[in-house]
C-alpha cells in the first residue's frame, strides 16, 4: 500500500491530454460573452458606417460608466447568491445628497463624503438584514428600493439639483488622445473592474465570496465567517454605488430623484450576459464588464443602423437572447 511514489510519478487514472492551455482557454467562462461582443461589433461595423469610429467607441464607454459600476456591485452580490434591486435607487440618493449639499453652499468634499456614507450605509443595512435576519436578498433590496426612492424624493423635496462644482463633475472631464475624448470616468471604471478582478481572484476574501455563494453550508462548516463575508460584499457594493453616483454627476451634472429607475434590471442583465450565475458562486467581473459593453454596443449599433424605435426593442430582446445562447453553446462544447 505504498502508492505514494507511484501517484507521485503522476500516471493519472485518466490520461491527461497535454493540450491544457488551449482547453483551459476554451473553458474560460468569459469566452462566450466575448464572442457575442465581437460578433456584435463586427456586424455593426459592416452594416453601418458611423459605428466603427474611435469617437463612437469612446462614447459607448462613457455611456456604460454608471451602469458598469452598478453592475460591478451587482456582480459581487449575485456571486453570494443574492440580488440587488436597490442599486439604482441607492446611487440616486447618493447623487441627491452630494448635489443638495453643494447647492446649499456646502463643501464639495464633505458632500462627497456624505454621499458615499449614505450609499455605504444603505449597503450595510441591506447586508445586515440579509445576514442577521436571514431574509431573502430579493425582498430586502426590494424594500430598500422603495424606501430609498421615497427618501430621495423627500430629501430632494421632489426637485432636481444641478451641480456646477468641479470636484463632483470630475469624472465627466477627461483628456483628448489622438482627437478622441476619453473621460477620467472611463479610466475609473476600468480601474474598479481591475481592482475587483484582483480581489475576487487573488485574495482570501475573494475565495470566501465564491465559497459562500456556491455552498453556504459548506463554507460555514469549514469555518468561514459567512455572515461577515456576505456583509462585506454588501458594504463594498454600497461603496461602488456611491462611486456610481459620483460618476453619474460627472456624466449628467444634475441630481434627479427619478433617475436610474432601470438601473437594477439593466445591471442584472449585464451580469447575466457576462456569464455569472444567478444561483451564486460562479462568474466573474470581467464577464460583467463585457456584458455591460454588449448592451452598450447593441443600443448604439442599433441606433446607428437607423432601426425604428419599436423594432429596435424587438431587436434588443432577440439579440440579448442570442448573446447568451452563444455563451451557453460554448460552455457545452467545453463540457464535452
Amino acid at each position: 500500500m505504498s502508492a505514494t511514489s507511484e501517484s507521485g510519478a503522476g500516471a493519472p487514472p485518466a490520461a491527461v491530454v497535454r493540450r491544457e492551455r488551449l482547453g483551459r482557454a476554451l473553458r474560460n467562462p468569459v469566452i462566450g460573452p466575448l464572442g457575442a461582443l465581437v460578433i456584435a461589433i463586427v456586424v455593426f461595423t459592416l452594416t453601418t458606417d458611423t459605428f466603427a469610429t474611435v469617437g463612437n467607441a469612446s462614447l459607448i464607454l462613457q455611456q456604460s460608466i454608471v451602469i458598469g459600476t452598478l453592475a460591478l456591485g451587482q456582480t459581487l452580490i449575485i456571486l453570494t447568491a443574492g440580488i440587488d434591486l436597490a442599486n439604482g435607487a441607492i446611487a440616486v440618493l447618493g447623487t441627491i445628497v452630494m448635489a443638495k449639499h453643494v447647492v446649499n453652499g456646502g463643501d464639495p468634499l464633505l458632500a462627497l463624503v456624505l454621499g458615499l456614507a449614505i450609499t455605504m450605509l444603505l449597503g450595510t443595512v441591506s447586508g445586515l438584514l440579509v445576514t442577521r435576519l436571514g431574509l431573502p436578498p430579493f425582498i430586502v433590496t426590494l424594500g430598500i428600493l422603495t424606501v430609498t426612492y421615497a427618501l430621495a424624493r423627500l430629501y430632494a423635496e421632489s426637485r432636481s439639483y444641478p451641480v456646477a462644482d468641479r470636484l463632483l463633475r470630475i469624472w465627466g472631464e477627461g483628456t483628448t488622445v489622438a482627437g478622441v475624448r476619453i473621460t477620467w470616468g472611463t479610466f475609473l471604471l476600468l480601474g474598479l473592474f481591475a481592482l475587483f478582478w484582483f480581489m475576487l481572484g487573488r485574495t482570501a476574501w475573494g475565495r470566501h465570496v465564491y465559497a459562500v455563494g456556491n455552498a453556504p453550508e459548506a463554507a460555514r462548516l469549514t469555518g468561514i465567517n459567512t455572515r461577515r463575508t456576505v456583509l462585506s460584499v454588501y458594504v463594498a457594493a454600497g461603496a461602488l454605488y456611491g462611486i456610481a453616483a459620483w460618476q453619474a454627476l460627472g456624466r449628467i451634472p444634475n441630481a434627479d430623484p427619478n433617475a436610474y429607475q432601470t438601473g437594477n434590471l439593466d445591471s442584472i442583465t449585464a451580469v447575466v450576459i457576462g456569464g455569472t450565475s444567478l444561483f451564486g458562486g460562479r462568474g466573474s467581473v470581467i464577464g460583467t464588464l463585457i456584458g455591460t459593453l454588449v448592451v452598450g454596443v447593441l443600443r448604439s449599433g442599433l441606433t446607428q443602423a437607423g432601426i425604428d424605435n419599436l423594432y429596435q426593442d424587438v431587436a434588443t430582446g432577440v439579440l440579448v437572447i442570442v448573446a447568451v445562447s452563444l455563451d451557453q453553446i460554448s460552455r457545452r462544447r467545453a463540457a464535452r
Binding site: T50, Q63, S158, Y161, I252, N258, A259, A305, Q312
Partner: protein, 316 residues
C-alpha cells in the same frame, strides 16, 4: 434607451427645407402624448422634406437616456433638436454641448430652467392649464363645500408640479387646505388611479371634486366612483385633450378636460428650426401653444369649447 427613427429622407416634396435634419427626443416612446408628437413630426417632416430622427428615454425621469440621445444626434450633425426634457434641469449639459456646435435646440412641452438654456420653448403653460382645470371644477361645484381628491402623476415631475399647483390656484385653495381629502401618485396610469381612488373612497365617500393629472387617471377615477355609485355627486376634471379623453367628456364620464396642442408644438418648433437653418433668425423665448377647457357644461367666466369641437381638434 435612445432610439432612432429616420422617418424623413423623402426629399421629393416640400419647399426650402430640403436637407435640413432634425432630431426629436421625447420623454418616453409609450405615452400617447409623445406618440402623437412623433407621428405629427414624421408627417410634417415628410411634407417639408426634412430628415427626422426620433429618439426617447426609457421611462419618466430617464435623464441618462435623453443625454445619450442628444449625444447620438450631435454625432450625426443634425441642424436642430427638439426635446421634451424630463425635468427642467436634467439635460442642460447636453443642450449646451449641442448649442456650442451650432445646433438649434428647442424645448417642447416642458420648459428648461433657466428658460434661455434653449433657443426657444413651445409648450403648454401647464400652470395655466392646471388653473383652468381648477377654476372649472370649482365653478362647477357651485355653492357646495369643496371636498377634493387629487390623483397626481409622479412625485417631482416638472409638469406634474405645475399642473398640481395651478389646479390649487384656480380652485382657490392652498396646499394643505382641509378641503383636500387625499392625494395619491398614480404615474398617470389608469390601473393605479383606479386602485388609488378605490382606496381613498373607503375613507372619503363624501368627495365631490377630483383632480386628475391626465385622462387615463381620470378614467380610473371614474371607474372607481361608478362602482360605488358616486358619479353623480362628483366633478372630475382632467388635462390632455386626447381623443379618448374628449370622447369620455362627451359621454359624460367627467365634466371637463383641458386640451393642449402637441401638434402645434411640433409644427411650430420644426418651422423655427427650418427657418434658422435657412439663414433666418433663430427663434427665441417661450411660446405658449395654448390650452382650452373642453366641456359640454360651460360655466360662467371660463372660456370653453364643446366636445364636438374637441373631437375635431383632439390628438392621439
Amino acid at each position: 434607451g435612445s432610439d432612432a427613427e429616420p422617418d424623413g429622407g423623402d426629399t421629393s416634396s416640400g419647399g426650402g427645407a430640403e436637407g435640413v435634419s432634425i432630431g426629436l427626443i421625447t420623454k418616453t416612446e409609450t405615452n400617447p402624448f409623445f406618440v402623437t408628437m412623433r407621428e405629427v413630426a414624421a408627417e410634417y417632416a415628410d411634407e417639408q422634406g426634412v430628415e427626422l430622427t426620433a429618439l426617447a428615454g426609457a421611462f419618466d425621469g430617464d435623464n441618462e437616456g435623453q443625454v445619450q440621445a442628444m449625444e447620438d444626434l450631435i454625432a450625426r450633425g443634425v441642424d436642430g433638436i427638439m426635446i421634451t426634457p424630463n425635468n427642467s434641469t436634467g439635460v442642460l449639459g447636453a443642450i449646451e454641448q449641442a448649442r456650442a456646435q451650432g445646433i438649434v435646440v428647442i424645448a417642447l412641452d416642458t420648459a428648461t430652467d433657466p428658460e434661455d438654456a434653449v433657443d426657444a420653448t413651445f409648450a403648454t403653460d401647464n400652470l395655466e392649464a392646471g388653473r383652468l382645470q381648477g377654476a372649472y371644477v370649482r365653478a362647477a361645484l357651485g355653492d357646495e363645500e369643496p371636498a377634493l381628491i387629487m390623483l397626481d402623476g409622479t412625485a417631482g415631475g416638472t409638469v406634474d408640479t405645475f399642473r398640481h399647483d395651478g389646479f390649487l390656484d384656480g380652485f382657490g385653495i392652498e396646499e394643505g387646505d382641509a378641503a383636500i381629502l387625499g392625494m395619491e401618485n398614480t404615474q398617470g396610469d389608469q390601473n393605479n388611479a383606479q386602485t388609488a381612488m378605490e382606496n381613498l373612497l373607503q375613507r372619503n365617500p363624501d368627495v365631490n371634486a377630483v383632480y386628475t393629472i391626465n385622462e387615463p387617471a381620470a378614467r380610473g377615477a371614474y371607474a372607481a366612483l361608478e362602482a360605488q355609485g358616486l358619479t353623480d355627486q362628483v366633478v372630475i376634471g382632467s388635462i390632455d385633450g386626447g381623443c379618448q379623453g374628449v370622447q369620455d367628456v362627451a359621454d359624460g364620464r367627467y365634466a371637463a378636460t383641458v386640451m393642449q396642442f402637441p401638434a402645434e408644438m411640433v409644427r411650430q418648433g420644426m418651422d423655427a428650426i427650418v427657418e434658422a437653418a435657412g439663414g433666418g433668425e433663430p427663434p427665441s423665448g417661450f411660446v405658449d401653444t395654448g390650452s382650452i377647457v373642453i366641456t359640454d357644461d360651460p360655466v360662467e367666466g371660463i372660456d370653453s369649447e364643446t366636445t364636438e369641437w374637441g373631437l375635431e381638434n383632439c390628438w392621439g
